[in-house]
Symmetry: C2
Subunit: 516 residues, 2 copies
């Protein structure tokens, strides 16, 4: 009431209202808003020289400000302002934005210093020592220069792609009635005892020996540091459990948030710090013909299709920039996979069916069999997942209903059994496998029966006070619900055809490596 | 190219395209989409019983699914399905959505079990032990029940408000040409040596004594844990420095990301884990009449005005819910302040002017003087900030150009001096003070001159290898840029009139306290 009364007076202010303040247009905004036939108006643009070509009477430079993959061509007609410009120099150029007679750009900036053109150097860049030279730079070299690597076209495209994907995600979840929520990063949960968590201490509580180089011996024995939070604190490995708490109040919640794993394995798919898209929601009614898992898979499929297909043109341009870096084989796989994004419904199969298909294929082969024999009750190996997505389906595939022993305690036990299923019960879960990446999304219906959950938690050694709150969510009006998690870097890698997740986040952290 | 070719085939699939999949509407969607005169169609809704009133032939319940502050009134006409319903029970109701004859709601759900109405209990909730009873619950009690507190109206409204504010932020920054970026949470930066950082270790490297209750004595002396990243790692206290690196490539970047401070002080304005909106951008041209600080303040002002004023109606409804909890004095202050959001340009004054105003006021008072005498060169105390925002201006106020010694090394030194300024130089910075909260935003122009920065870093004891990358940003095409940080919980507290930041985040963490 109060707020509305005030808001209704907003129109009384005289223009320009301070809320209407705008920064000067970026190159992207300038070019996308520019009509093909421009009145010859004076324009000022800032950015960095991406390339420069000097001729006797005229020089050409491409100016980038990172706002899109396209730079703005600047043509220097007269004057000496352009003489000292080198790659990487920060400049502010004033000139006339005109339609370009050249190919490759719709507009260009004519800088005529004899008229009102101006070249202002904002920051020099010594071409002899500038680490980001024009020639191709190795991935490893750019990792060593993490503070500068976003100045290359493909890392800049990746950062913009993250922005675009996050925006599409937000739009999708908002339209579906979800609330974006911030669940804790610091938690008492030590990754369900898996031992891959980071533990935290206030610096004051850490022995000085541990903050000097490890080569110096500790001067005195260390005492256990005091607990800042009155109990041990870890960095979260997943936001799921906390999101579930919010889902019992708000029905539909999601987050895009950092997660951490102290994994020492160095693969192209793992980081110590990564971002996860996680969602939890109360399920709609299921009927005889419709399992809860149908809703879960349909929702995840719709999410990915929307995010990838509905992105604006600039996102598609950035994807093209990234694809130029990809290797041919992966490209072929993904080309096939992306045709699925546009048309066919994605394949869904049970774990049991998957094992049957893998076995038939493996048995029929005389040689070059799988390294691991596909067996019901054993995890699907990377080679199995790759065959299913890359070869058997040739597109995204949901593998559902894994044996309970392969999955965490919180997944809902299935009531029914299927032909070919082993002795063991299965749980209502899925992994979404995509060509070239493997597992992109994992999720499940959550166990909503308090007593069943309690038994499973006790079996998993989580029967203590620490997880009592999680069990209580079911005791007080627990509703059937489901959720999933998607590694954001893997999504970027899939959509952009980027081989290693280290090139899917601006400043990656992995075991042994944390620059900046 | 590749991507575009594929995307152009999207239209060929037959309806319904899997991308068009939608979950069942939430109560919010149902009510906002419903025409005043409804065809009497059968509708199924899930949620929790918020209140129930049983009469002889008819019962009334309010069903909430957390999608908006409004519940859906359900009217049970016949049948026994509603008999066992108690507060907190999760149900799925099927009935007819009709225009409501009652006041307080536009529509209601008629559940007639003799016709096709249905009441399905999804999860029971024992009214004897349910912690979220209908009567008013103390803030402290709800903190103890952090996993359930989003089931109360005002915590649910706060969580939705965060979602709405984040969405408005994203819309504002996107329109201004900014790229949303994820900068690292784990960093080698120990809060510029301020000693308020958390340090992290992999659990494997932590002595078992520190993960058992602190009462048990350590069985053996601790060894310094091995470094997971080959150097000490801390939780970031700010994303600024890393955002600056991205701003030297993408021109305009922002993030909404978690930050951490191991601060032991227990105030209503500090958390150990909090979210910060931070932005960095390359400045436009400044002229004789326009300082860089004008652009910075105008941009921050536009940001806040847009975020608060352009929110959709549901956000304003949630703000109203929160204001009902606020105290009268704060409400009066904020009522005045919000009128500024709608109309007048916000006051800007220099630190020097602020000290002069504070001194005049203090000198003129015979008694009840400030506890701390306002003196040029000393920090503004909370009492000073409150007087400036609450009393002197009665609205948001930018205080600019603080003495260099009061601010961090990265702020740009001012070239000019002003009358009344002390001996010392000032820096081009601002704090935005708002009534009832104090400092809501802080920012500055960044020192872009490599040599000046280098001196200041050495003075601050940061001359080593660890920050060399930061200095290099200026050596290679550094452009004048500025940035700011805004505590997201403080924003929520300001807009929602919430007294303590612990009620501005779903699951708060502070010294000594980390539930869940």
């Amino acid at each position: 009431m109060f707020f509305r009364r005030l808001a209704s007076t907003a129109a009384s202010s005289s223009p320009p209202h301070p809320a209407a303040y705008r920064l000067a247009p970026t190159i992207c905004q300038l070019l996308s808003g520019a009509p093909p036939e421009l009145p010859s108006s004076t324009t000022t643009v800032s950015g960095w020289i991406k390339s420069i070509r000097k001729q006797k009477n005229v020089s050409f430079a491409v100016l980038t400000d990172g706002s899109s993959y396209k730079g703005l061509q600047a043509v220097f007609l007269k004057g000496k302002g352009s003489h000292g410009l080198t790659i990487g120099t920060a400049v502010r150029l004033t000139g006339k934005l005109v339609s370009s007679p050249g190919v490759g750009q719709s507009h260009e900036l004519l800088v005529d210093e004899v008229q009102d053109g101006e070249v202002e150097v904002l920051g020099e860049c010594d071409p002899e020592i500038y680490p980001i030279q024009k020639q191709a730079l190795s991935t490893e070299y750019l990792r060593d220069n993490a503070h500068l690597r976003a100045r290359t076209s493909h890392i800049a495209a990746m950062v913009r792609l993250r922005d675009a994907l996050a925006r599409q995600m937000n739009a999708f979840f908002t339209a579906q009635g979800f609330c974006y929520a911030h669940t804790p990063i610091l938690t008492g949960n030590d990754a369900e005892g898996a031992g891959e968590a980071f533990q935290i201490f206030p610096v004051e509580g850490v022995h000085p020996a541990s903050i000097t180089p490890p080569s110096s011996p500790p001067p005195t024995p260390l005492q256990p540091p005091p607990e800042f939070f009155s109990r041990p604190a870890y960095l979260t490995v997943s936001h799921q459990l906390h999101l579930e708490a919010l889902a019992t109040a708000l029905s539909r919640v999601y987050t895009l948030s950092p997660c951490f794993r102290a994994e020492r394995s160095l693969t192209s798919r793992h980081l110590a710090e990564f971002w996860m898209l996680e969602a939890e929601w109360v399920l709609g009614p299921h009927t005889k013909d419709k399992r809860d898992m149908d809703e879960v898979c349909s929702f995840v499929e719709a999410c990915l299709r929307n995010v990838v297909l509905l992105g604006e043109q600039s996102m598609k341009d950035d994807i093209d920039v990234l694809w130029k870096d990809g290797n041919e084989k992966k490209r072929a796989l993904l080309e096939k996979a992306f045709s699925h994004i546009n048309s066919q419904a994605w394949t869904r199969m049970s774990y049991t069916q998957a094992v049957q298909e893998l076995s038939s294929f493996d048995n029929a082969r005389a040689s070059s069999k799988f390294e691991f024999k596909p067996l019901w009750g054993k995890p699907l190996q990377s080679e199995h997942e790759r065959w299913l997505a890359d070869v058997f389906v040739g597109g995204p595939v949901f593998v559902m209903d894994y044996p309970a022993s392969l999955k965490p305690f919180y997944m809902r036990a299935n009531d029914s059994r299927e032909p070919g299923q082993g002795e063991e019960d299965t749980v209502a879960c899925f992994d979404l496998l995509v060509p070239g990446v493997g597992e992109l999304v994992g999720g499940s219906v959550r166990e909503d029966r308090a007593d069943v959950l309690k038994c499973k938690m006790e079996e998993a050694g989580l029967g203590g006070e620490g997880y009592k709150w999680y069990e209580e969510l079911r005791r007080y009006g627990g509703a059937p619900h489901a959720g999933f998690g998607m590694g954001f870097e893997r999504l970027v890698g899939w959509v952009g055809g980027v081989d290693n997740v280290r090139e899917c986040i601006p400043m990656p952290r992995w075991a042994g490596r944390m620059l900046l």
